[in-house]
Assembly symmetry: C2
Homo-oligomer: 688 residues x 2
């Protein structure tokens, strides 16, 4: 692949960039496309965007709180609302009336209302501090700022966000919505048509969409800002914008950071996830019900695995990594060549390398002991045990996830009504306990405490059979009763979590006190060195905060063959074999004669996206929905480290394909009308 | 770890080396240990060694064909002789009389009788040839030499062996024994005490031993040469020799070869094997019988996985690989600095790099299409289909595994009576067909041919249910009937193999014609360059041919703690938890009061070994058995690329521990007497 590299804070190449809303590259976009994004346009777009706190993007698409996102972003909710008799994953879901819309147990939606620069607050709180003192002061200041910002309201969410790895700190203030209901989802078979084999490829034929609705005080939210539906279907060459929440990129990582990814984190994840995949694949054969139960988890595992394999190949690429190393060395020489720069930043890389070596040495142990052993029941027990210890402390000194500003999300998860399946819990717990013994060795004191003289199978079985934590009222009473109730509890899972906690705290504290401060301090220094040398006219690495990317709907060459950018319904029927994962659902087969086969179904565009952008709206100059991001092609997977305009493509469901399906396949007139009612009015735009 | 590196053909450091019998480092051993290995000593040792053709080592330990090897080397046989009612893996096996000794369906034992240098024959056959012509001529010459050597006798096996990656070619002539019977095996629980968690670690407490017996004409073989049992138990500091068949090392690989391992071969194997492991772990939960069926396979997968993880860590090690790269660059400069060397060898590295790039690009496709899809039934069908095409050709132009000299082994496998389990076959075939679709993509023509419009599950089920290839007579008649019988067969697995063969041949031929010749030619040139510059006083990379290593029984430091070199029975009882894999079998618990707890059980030594050495005898200066290699410690895994004398340790069962168990736990007096009867006589040695 022909890769154009950007290694540092230098001006990005055309199309590259996941831009923050306060630093949109208005001028380059105007120069290339003749479109000027006005402040009003940007403000409207920002207010119409939505974030699914669990790790996805979405958008408001009506004045009544209707949210458009991906099926795979709502998959867990759809599964949680299903049971052995009603399988909405397999059969799809459509609420014919508002009354039929059902609340998702664990979805939280955020709308960004304000960005506040708190760089100076954070930096003065940590000035001249190092090590443990630095990290504690920084976290305390973050928790303090977040608490002040949310003013203890559950409806406001405030997160301090680290941008440019410490070059900037911003406070992101969101409206928080926890009453989110499922409105529509097609069958999994078409949402993920082509399954794992077609995942991260193009051309595609997926209706990877779901509709949710935000409720407030028991009624649909009434909202002023939302994206209207496009009147004209988007076509080859059109300028498009992606508005969403890319989760994480590592383009500004040091070579030592990348080596930690390559030699420690990703290789460990690849073998772990591969093993889980094999296990769940075979587990799914126990019965149709077990298959249903494992499906969401297996889907997530396969998706991560394919993405990580793509990323890993880039980390192993001698040329790409060699170029990155060269750029880093040159920049270091430049810093060391100027005495003021050298004094201020010269020691940052060495500190970063040392911290990375320390991290690699303890990573396997930390990631094992601070995990949830793949078990919801253990996760609940651990959360209760930690809450008992953390909540009595002052807000500023708690573990960050127990800070006041984080409690609404924690409670939503802790008291979720989502079903928990004993058989699946036992299988996952046994597997992860076995894995812990493998990673740490049978003679590790934590392993001895975990297992005693029993096998992982026996321990897992006894814990899952014995615990009563499926009972939400019990969880509530233990949470309310605090440490006293927890330590008095005879529940075996609580006791197990109590037993484990000293080991997991110890390794976490070691990381937070000894290693993390040096990683942060060195990254902050390096970011400042780049600002000092190259200025600030660029975008920060992705941090699951709202960004806007832009580009064109555009095909590309792959192994000498041109891949056109838009697919249609006809292609989906051609790809249908009748066997999973290439089997179109019955609803499609039955509706075939009614369909316009030339309706666009999916398209690809040059916009720069990454995981977390799933569910992002694709909009045109008018701010109208023309598509729904659900994937990137295989060439986009290196996007974690580099952006390659020649082949990197975002993959989206086409807006016209969505309407065709709602109308002719699913008879979802109510929703179609709600979407299209907006299409007659035009939003305020500045089109040149 | 403190690594001392050897990058090239320079003289090896003390203890390093897997020496061929015609180049034993007599002088350095004498200088360090005062022991001179006489030609008679070496000859006797060579004649007493045995190879298990499937991938292990062993030794003759009585004059009646008794063979000592590892339990894990005989594991497959033990499993093949078991069934749902009689589980010799779980319960152990002991033949109280010769009559109770049972033939292993697929074990072949080789005894090396002669090594003939055929370098000039091979090199003149290929002189001035390149590409496809080079490879074809080389293979033809190898098949011709092997056929002449074995004189068409099934009892003689002749293999041309490539040493120093083409610096030397030797013809290894073996006596071939295919009637090999199981005599004794302890329970799996003690053979592999500690299981995967303790695998590749030390201290250890395993009785990883099994006894086989070679038969000739229906009677126990009468053999002159064999190892006698040691009279004195070996102790800390003793000089020891390991005589066995290390399978494969890559110490002389180029950087491009290593990059292919790192970026393509090993990473693919790691994720594949991890997935199989998860699958088989869960498959084993279907029922105790499924667990029994999957056990041998799962054991192999876990063993490979742990070994590969250790090797991979070395390939990712920047310092070790950086040093190797530096050494390669320096050597290349040295070659290019002398005009005669440059002319003769200067282009080898570039050719090697290019061939490696070509290999990486086609490796996933080749390894998928030339695999057996994890299915014995498919393997049988493929072998029959290929035999139909290959056997009518002249010996010299066949695929090498169909050359006359290889047919005895091929037939032993093809007509093996080992049971085949439909359920397991279906699971593995489905998995591997799914994997093929994943690796090649659903649009690959081979995948379309494989699956048509069906799912992998349906294809696998139909093939396994429909085939009659479990019937050995059917296999025989199809083999005898040749291509005509094959193409006329209605057996669905045969038809499937016929369908696949054009695709798999195409990719294999591409490799053999376009890529392999350049890999070989370049490696041959590089080897010759090293001989030219540095001489020949070193050992070649391992090639599953007989080697002798030497060293001391010796502990080592690990994370600042000294690990003593010898464990005892008491340690085994201390490590017993009662839960698998730390559960001593009932026979041990019951015999506890009779045992001398201070009897040595396992030991570690500095001898340089690697996979394939499993089952190797460890002998003392007198040529007496003092131990039985069954593992290396975790630090030995990098031995594929480097040897580190400070921590690399071979791990063995102690000879005294074997006798204690045979005598007091298993009541195997017949075998104990057979072993010890020899200990009164002393073999011819030269002790200084």
């Amino acid at each position: 692949m022909t890769v154009l590299l950007v290694f540092s804070f230098c001006a990005a190449q055309a199309e590259e960039g996941m831009w923050t809303f306060d630093n949109f590259p208005t001028k380059p976009v105007y120069e290339k496309y003749g479109f000027e994004a006005s402040p009003i346009w940007l403000e409207h777009v920002r207010q119409s965007a939505a974030r699914l706190a669990g790790g996805c993007s979405g958008s408001f698409v009506s004045s009544s709180g209707l949210i458009l996102t991906n099926h795979h972003c709502a998959h867990r909710c759809i599964e949680q609302l299903s049971n052995a008799k009603k399988d909405f994953v397999a059969k799809g879901f459509y609420a014919k009336t508002n009354a039929e819309e059902v609340r998702c147990p664990e979805i939280e939606i955020n709308r960004l209302v304000q960005i506040i620069d708190v760089t100076s607050e954070i930096q003065s709180a940590t000035a001249k501090l190092t090590g443990e003192a630095f990290n504690k002061a920084q976290k305390a200041e973050m928790s303090k700022l977040e608490k002040e910002c949310s003013a203890s309201s559950d409806k406001v969410r405030c997160d301090v966000v680290t941008l440019y790895h410490g070059g900037r700190y911003n406070l992101y203030k969101y409206q928080r919505y926890q009453d989110v209901r499922l409105v529509f989802a097609p069958e999994f078979a078409i949402a993920f048509f082509g399954g794992d084999p077609d995942n991260f490829t193009f051309p595609r034929y997926d209706l990877d969409m779901a509709m949710l609705r935000v409720y407030e005080d028991g009624k649909p939210l009434q909202n002023k800002d939302y994206f209207k539906w496009s009147k004209e279907p988007a076509k080859d060459g059109d300028l498009s914008f992606v508005v969403g929440h890319p989760g994480n990129t590592s383009r500004l990582y040091t070579m030592a950071d990348l080596e930690t990814l390559r030699n420690t984190k990703i290789i460990q994840a690849l073998t772990y996830l591969s093993e889980v995949r094999g296990l769940l694949t075979e587990y799914s054969k126990r019965s149709p019900e077990q298959k249903r139960i494992a499906k969401d988890h297996l889907f997530g595992v396969e998706n991560s695995l394919k993405a990580l394999k793509g990323r890993y190949a880039v980390l192993l690429d001698k040329r790409i990594m060699g170029d990155k190393e060269k750029a880093e060395n040159e920049f270091r020489q430049r810093v060391n060549g100027a005495s003021d720069l050298k004094k201020a930043y010269g020691d940052a890389w060495e500190m970063n390398e040392k911290a990375n070596i320390d991290l690699r040495n303890m990573y396997a142990r930390m990631s094992t002991l601070e995990s949830n052993f793949g078990s919801r029941l253990f996760e609940i027990a651990k959360t209760l045990v930690r809450a008992g210890d953390e909540l009595p402390k002052k807000n500023e000194v708690r573990y960050r996830e127990y800070a006041d500003s984080r409690l609404p999300q924690l409670k939503q998860s802790l008291f979720s009504k989502a079903p928990i399946y004993s058989d699946f819990e036992t299988a996952m717990l046994e597997f992860n306990l076995t894995k812990a013994r493998e990673v740490l060795g049978p003679d590790d004191p934590a392993v001895k405490a975990l297992l005693g003289k029993k096998s992982p199978a026996d321990v897992a079985k006894a814990l899952v059979q014995g615990t009563k934590l499926k009972d939400i009222k019990l969880r509530q009473s233990l949470y309310d009763g605090g440490k006293k109730a927890i330590t008095a509890s005879k529940d075996p899972m609580i006791q197990f979590a109590l037993l484990m906690d000293p080991y997991s705290r110890k390794v976490r504290d070691k990381f937070e006190d000894d290693i993390e401060p040096n990683l942060k301090l060195s990254a902050e220094k390096i970011a400042q060195a780049h600002f000092a040398v190259e200025g600030t006219n660029t975008y920060p690495d992705a941090t699951f905060t709202l960004r806007v990317s832009y580009g064109q709907i555009k095909g590309y060459d792959e192994n000498g063959v041109f891949v056109p950018p838009i697919t249609d319904y006809e292609g989906a029927f051609q790809r249908n074999t009748g066997a999973d994962p290439f089997a179109l659902p019955a609803s499609w087969i039955n509706a075939k004669s009614k369909l316009n086969m030339q309706t666009p179904l999916n398209f690809c565009a040059t916009a720069d996206i990454i995981g977390g952008n799933s569910g992002s709206p694709v909009i045109n100059r008018n701010g109208e929905i023309i598509g729904l991001i659900f994937d990137g092609n295989i060439q986009s997977l290196g996007g974690d480290y580099i952006y390659d305009a020649t082949q990197n493509r975002a993959v989206a469901v086409h807006s016209a394909g969505i309407i065709e399906a709602l109308d002719k396949i699913y008879g979802a007139k109510r929703i179609k009308d709600e979407l299209l009612s907006s299409a007659n009015a035009t939003v305020t735009t500045s089109v040149h």
